[in-house]
Every structure is written in structure tokens, then in C-alpha cells.
Symmetry: C2
Subunit: 417 residues, 2 copies
């Protein structure tokens, strides 16, 4: 038998096809978690998996699994994939590349006629993006037992729909797939992903050996002012929530100066009553803070909380901590395998840190974990212009296939024996 | 015949009844322009007017008129009233007091058996508040020929409904009222209103003789940045529209320091895509600037435009001027009449400037115009807590009645002759 090889044409065609589920008029996708568009995407991915003989299942967290059964059922499985939900104006590669590359690698193994000793499970984690339901990484956090199921199911989107309600409509759409309990033991976890920055592109590398994921903190800050008439209320008597927000945002941004690697973003701002001639009663905003060094992350977090408290007057402020995820590193053995595979194929490679958060962050404390990055054009992501070259997509899947063969115990010399 | 007298009980009862149209659960009203709630309010006001023998009509701008025919049809009419639309979380008095006080005064004249020489027209101007359709003062601006009808009719609300479409549904709801052409000659215009500040209350006055309305400028500012991933895009490469907005807002606010009477408000802010982990591509915000002195108003306006341009980088900015209304003064003869009436009734009075804009601003260049203010508790307006004392409501209507008798030529000695 021949060594399995991925079909780069099929993988690319499937990436493009998946981009039709939630396609935006000007390009890119809006395929938010547990939406009607994501149901369409599940339908496609499940059909592709079944065509290769994989068995579809889900769990109480709404994660999607496609399993290739191994020959030794007592061994723990190898898991590979990412997520298929997107930002509201997202691209075709963030998440989708990881899940479809894993599906392609497993399909290649099946087509070669070989069987792994360990089962291989292709995963699509529920709500990685956290745009519709905040915060993200819900599926992998629930899998890892980091948050109570009831709490996550109660989170509501802007229309008042809860995760539990939305998940029920997804599960109802697939009455014929198995439901498995939440969480199981894993031999190793490998997640391919686009880099979402331009380090690989700048350095001319094709494969990124991810050393770890930078730490992240998020906060919801609520500034409470007092509604008043814009034409009559004297300036010195106002409790203007928009102005308190603006002061906080400006000072917070200034506090980040001088650190080359910190990432500080206020991406969501909600003003009430948001009427042109009314002094604002309330502003709610989300802070997204990231840093590779845990000490610096903690110090910046403390500083942001101090600024929010210090600049609130004459308004009041409430600070709610959402995500508090320290920086983590990936497993040395898997990183060595990625390097060896890249070298074998002749793909230029680079060790680098992930600036973006990924589901692999939640897997790392549970099992041997790794991430394989491929370049994305100009570092653009979370945007319809997000783009990865077909050759790089194929390279990432080829390296993943090498790792799956090794991790799941596929002997490519079976036929020669 | 006896001199006409208003019924303070009836006026108060009607103010409370009108508050049921668009009533909010916790008090106050949401009766925005041309809404289903405003249709209910029209229905009530027209019924009350007809019960007093007034004739209802409307015009292409959607203004509501209730006419008491005078005996000398060749004389131009006296117009009195205000508006019956509200802010989304408005009170029971802003606007409604003026229109219902005028209706009460005219009803008192009818009930006394006297007839004015000039017609008296009670008015409810279309969309004074400008919250659903921006900017406000639409009905009076159209009446005064300050804006093209087509342009105003094309303005859309947040749901995409145009003024023209909403107005059609109002007009369709009242097939039996007359349609008159836009604009007509007026002998004099008098608008009673709550003060929306606390000068009268603080000074212990009941009647405000309004010297003029402070000038106002509004702007729509659009800051364009570039969408990017919150976890990966280096800080120095970002074009973060939220941060550019925050800098502008903070510097603009600081630029107002040291001026006791300027009013500067950013009440509406819209962020796109408004996703927690996406650097913002766009922020649109509205500036509301007011000042009683036109030179200062212009200087502050220029300064705001300079700050918007200067703080935009690395984003780009578009500055759109919406309202540019200079400060104006009211007619001396009418002000003298208000003072004389207040003194005759024994109502403590005060000359003061209006900090809020009113439809009377548009009438002042057209005809002899005046405003009668009454106190509102704590100066609170554009809020469900807005409140005026029944005695002050009655006082304002009584002074208006005196002016209408004089202006419309009602001889109270007719019976004695």
C-alpha cells in the first residue's frame, strides 16, 4: 500500500464550498455560532465525513465530532480540527481550514486502505468566535470542564436567544447523530489554523510551529451616568457616560504605550439611550487584553481596572472580569514532529507564538497538544479579505497528516510486510 | 359676558390622558414622531378640538392644526401650540403642555361665547424631537421653507422607514381631516413650554418670559478605521476607529472648559462591526453644540471640526454639518404682554434665555413670536421623571389665554357694550 496523501484540490474545493454557508454579498462569511448558517455548514461537513466512513456525534456542549474508528478500541483517540463558526464579517479560513484539513487528512488515510490503531476524531468546537454569544471558546471550555454547563447555556445573544435554545435547534436539525457525554480522554490534540498575523508571510515561512498562545483577559465595563437634556443641562452638573467612557478608553490606550507585544482592544461599545440630544445614561464596553508574558498581562489588567475606576467620576462604574486565561506552551514532542514533517516536505518553517486565542488553549492542560499555522495574506483575519494560498492550505494539511499517522499509529509499511 | 377662564382641572386631566398614548411601564412616554402612539395622540387631540367646535387640518409636512374661525376672515390667524411627539424615554409635559394649553385657552374662549376677530390655530408641529427621524424640528422647518420637502420625506429611521412612508400612515389614519398647502401667513405665534432647566425653579418664578433661544449646531462625524483581529494586529499598525473617537470626544470635551454656558453633547455613538474581538472599522457619532452667543457658537463649532480632523489619524474622518441655527430673540411687544399678564395674575416672572431649541425658533423670522415658560421640577426633561406642578401648568395656560385674547382681538367688554 502507498503512503496516504491528501488531495489538495478536494480540500480547497471544500473550503470554497463551506464559504457558501453564510456567504456575505461582498465576500467573506457571517456564520456565527449555532446559527442557521452554521447548521448548513454542519450538514456539509457531516455528509463529507460520512462519505469517508466517519461516524458523526455531538455532545451537550454542541461540539461536532467525526470519528474514524481505530483497530485498537481500548486506546484513547487522537483529536484534530478547529471550529466552523465565524465572526459576523469573517473570512473563509479562520477555523474552517483546521476542521477541513483534519477531515482531509483522515479521508486520505481511509482512501489509502490503511487503518489507524487509535481512533481519530475530527472536531468542530462550538462557538470559538464569541461574537454572537460572549465570550467565545465555549465548546472547548465546556469540554475541558472550565465553566459550568448551565451558566454557558444561559448566555443570551442580542436578540435574547440563549445558547441552550440555539443549541437545541442545531441538535433538532440532526436527529440521526449520536449524543455522547461531555468530555473524554484524548491521546493528543492537533489544531491547524491560519496565523491571523503576518509573521510567517514576512519571514517567508509556510509552516508555523506554534510555541504557545498568548494570555488573554477580557472585561465588561459598565459606566452609569444620568440621562439629561443636551440643550439645558449645565456641563458641570452632567454625569455623561459617553464622556467617562472616552476618558477611560483614551487613558487605557495611552497606558499600553512602550510595550511592543501587548494587544488592547475595545471592540464593542453600547450607548443608552443613544439619542442625539440626550446626555447618555449608560455605556457598556468590552475590553480584550492579550500578552504573551503572564506577569505583564496581570500588571496591565490591574492598570486597566484602576483607570476604569479612576476616570469614572462623576459617573459610577462596574467592572466585570470575563476571561482570565494565562499564556500557555505546547508540547515539545509534537512540535518536533511538526518541524520534521515540514523539513521532509521542504516547507520553510518557523517557531512562533500565537497572538490569537484558540481552542487548543483549553486542550493543552488536558493532553499533549500542538498547533500548525499557515500564513494568511497581509495578516488580515476576522475580515472578508482574509486569504490563504492554496499551496499553503495543502502544506498545512500534509503536515497534519504526518502527525496523525504517527500519533494514531498508522504503519505505512503494512503493505510491504 | 364674562371674561374667558381656563379650566385648570380639564387641562391637567388631558395632559395625564395624553400620557397614556405611548406610556412606558415605569412612567413617562415613548411617543416618537409619526408612530402608532402619536396617531393615538392625534385622535385624542382632534376629538377634544372638535368637541369645542375647532376644525382639524394637516399639511404636507404632517403638522396638525385645529382652527377656531375668527369673525374677520380676511385677517391672518394667530397660531399657538407646540408638539405632541416625545423622546424615546420622554416625559408628559415636553411639547404636550404647549399644544394642550393652547387647546385649553381656545376652548375657554369658545365656552365664554365670545368670538375672536382673527382665527386662532392650535398647532402640533411634526417631529420636534428628532429622535426617530433626525434632525428634529421637521414640521416647523418645512412650514418655514427652511428645507426641501422631498429631502425631509426621504429621511429614514433605524428600521429603514422613511418620513414620507410614516407620514402616509398617519394621514391614512385620518381620512376625514382637511389637507392645506404648506405654509401660510401668521399674525403672531406663541409657544408655551416647560423650561427644561431649573432657572425658574431656583429663582422662585412661575412664568418665564423667554428672551430668545440659544444657537445650535449639530454634526454627524464618521471615523473610518480598518477591521482587524484583536489578538494579532500590532498596536502600532492599527486603525482603530473606537480609539480615534475616544480621543476626539475627550479633546472636544476639554475644549469646552472655561465657558459657563456652552452645551456640548455626544449622545449617539454607533460602532461597526461592534464585535468584542475585532478592531473597529467605523464609528459614527452625533455632536450637539449649543451657545447663546453666535460668535462663541461659531468659534466652538470650528474648534470641534479642527479636533475631529486633527485626532483622526491613522483613521480618516468625514464631518457632516446637519443643523446650523443661530441664536435668536423674541418680539418685544409680545414679551411685554407676557410680563403684564403675569403681573396681573400675581405670578412671579423672570426673563430668561431658552437653552433648548423649539419650533418657535423657526417662527421667529416669519412673524412676531414669543415663548412662555413654566418651571419643571429639578430641570429634568427628556426623561420619564419630567414633572410640572398643576398650578404652574394652569398659570402658563392663563397667560397664553391673555395673549390670545389680545392678539386675536377678543373684546371682553362685548357683553357690557
Amino acid at each position: 500500500m502507498t503512503r496516504p496523501e491528501i488531495s489538495s484540490e478536494r480540500l480547497w474545493a471544500r473550503l470554497m464550498a463551506l464559504g457558501e454557508d453564510g456567504a456575505l454579498p461582498g465576500g467573506g462569511v457571517n456564520r456565527q455560532a449555532l446559527s442557521a448558517e452554521e447548521i448548513l455548514a454542519w450538514r456539509r461537513v457531516i455528509a463529507w465525513g460520512r462519505a469517508a466512513g466517519l461516524v458523526a456525534s455531538t455532545d451537550p456542549a454542541g461540539n461536532l465530532f467525526l470519528t474514524l474508528e481505530g483497530t485498537l478500541s481500548y486506546l484513547t483517540p487522537v483529536v484534530a480540527g478547529s471550529h466552523i463558526d465565524s465572526q459576523p464579517t469573517g473570512g473563509l479560513f479562520d477555523g474552517a481550514f483546521g476542521t477541513l484539513a483534519a477531515l482531509e487528512a483522515v479521508t486520505a488515510i481511509v482512501e489509502s486502505g490503511l487503518r489507524p490503531e487509535r481512533s481519530i476524531i475530527v472536531v468542530g468546537w462550538m462557538n470559538e468566535e464569541g461574537s454572537r454569544f460572549a465570550p467565545g471558546m465555549m465548546g472547548s471550555e465546556l469540554f475541558a470542564g472550565l465553566r459550568p454547563l448551565e451558566e454557558v447555556m444561559a448566555v443570551r445573544d442580542a436578540d435574547g436567544i440563549s445558547v441552550g435554545e440555539a443549541l437545541k435547534s442545531v441538535h433538532d436539525a440532526f436527529p440521526d447523530i449520536a449524543h455522547r457525554p461531555l468530555g473524554f480522554d484524548i491521546h493528543s490534540y492537533i489544531e491547524p489554523h491560519i496565523e491571523q498575523a503576518d509573521v510567517l508571510e514576512t519571514e517567508g515561512a509556510v509552516i508555523g510551529v506554534v510555541s504557545g498562545i498568548q494570555g488573554k483577559k477580557t472585561y465588561d465595563i459598565t459606566v452609569k451616568g444620568r440621562e439629561a437634556h443636551a440643550g439645558t443641562e449645565p456641563m458641570e452638573r452632567r454625569q455623561d457616560a459617553v464622556q467617562a467612557f472616552a476618558r477611560m478608553a483614551t487613558r487605557m490606550h495611552a497606558a499600553m504605550a512602550g510595550d511592543d507585544v501587548v494587544k488592547f482592544t475595545i471592540g464593542r461599545v453600547t450607548v443608552e439611550p443613544n439619542a442625539p440630544s440626550v446626555v447618555s445614561a449608560k455605556v457598556t464596553f468590552r475590553i480584550d487584553l492579550r500578552h504573551p508574558a503572564n506577569a505583564a498581562l496581570d500588571a496591565f489588567g490591574t492598570q486597566l481596572e484602576e483607570i476604569a475606576a479612576g476616570e469614572a467620576e462623576p459617573c459610577s462604574v462596574e467592572i466585570r472580569r470575563l476571561v482570565d486565561a494565562p499564556s500557555n506552551g505546547f508540547e515539545e514532542g509534537l512540535k518536533a514532529q511538526i518541524r520534521a514533517s515540514a523539513d521532509r516536505h521542504g516547507f520553510p518553517r518557523l517557531d512562533l507564538l500565537s497572538a490569537a486565542g484558540h481552542d487548543a488553549r483549553q486542550m493543552a492542560p488536558l493532553t499533549r497538544s500542538a498547533m500548525i499555522f499557515i500564513p494568511c495574506r497581509g495578516g488580515v483575519s476576522h475580515h472578508p479579505d482574509e486569504w490563504a494560498e492554496p499551496a499553503h492550505v495543502a502544506a498545512g494539511a500534509a503536515v497534519l497528516l504526518d502527525l496523525l499517522l504517527e500519533e494514531a499509529g498508522v504503519s505505512c509499511n503494512q503493505g510491504d510486510a
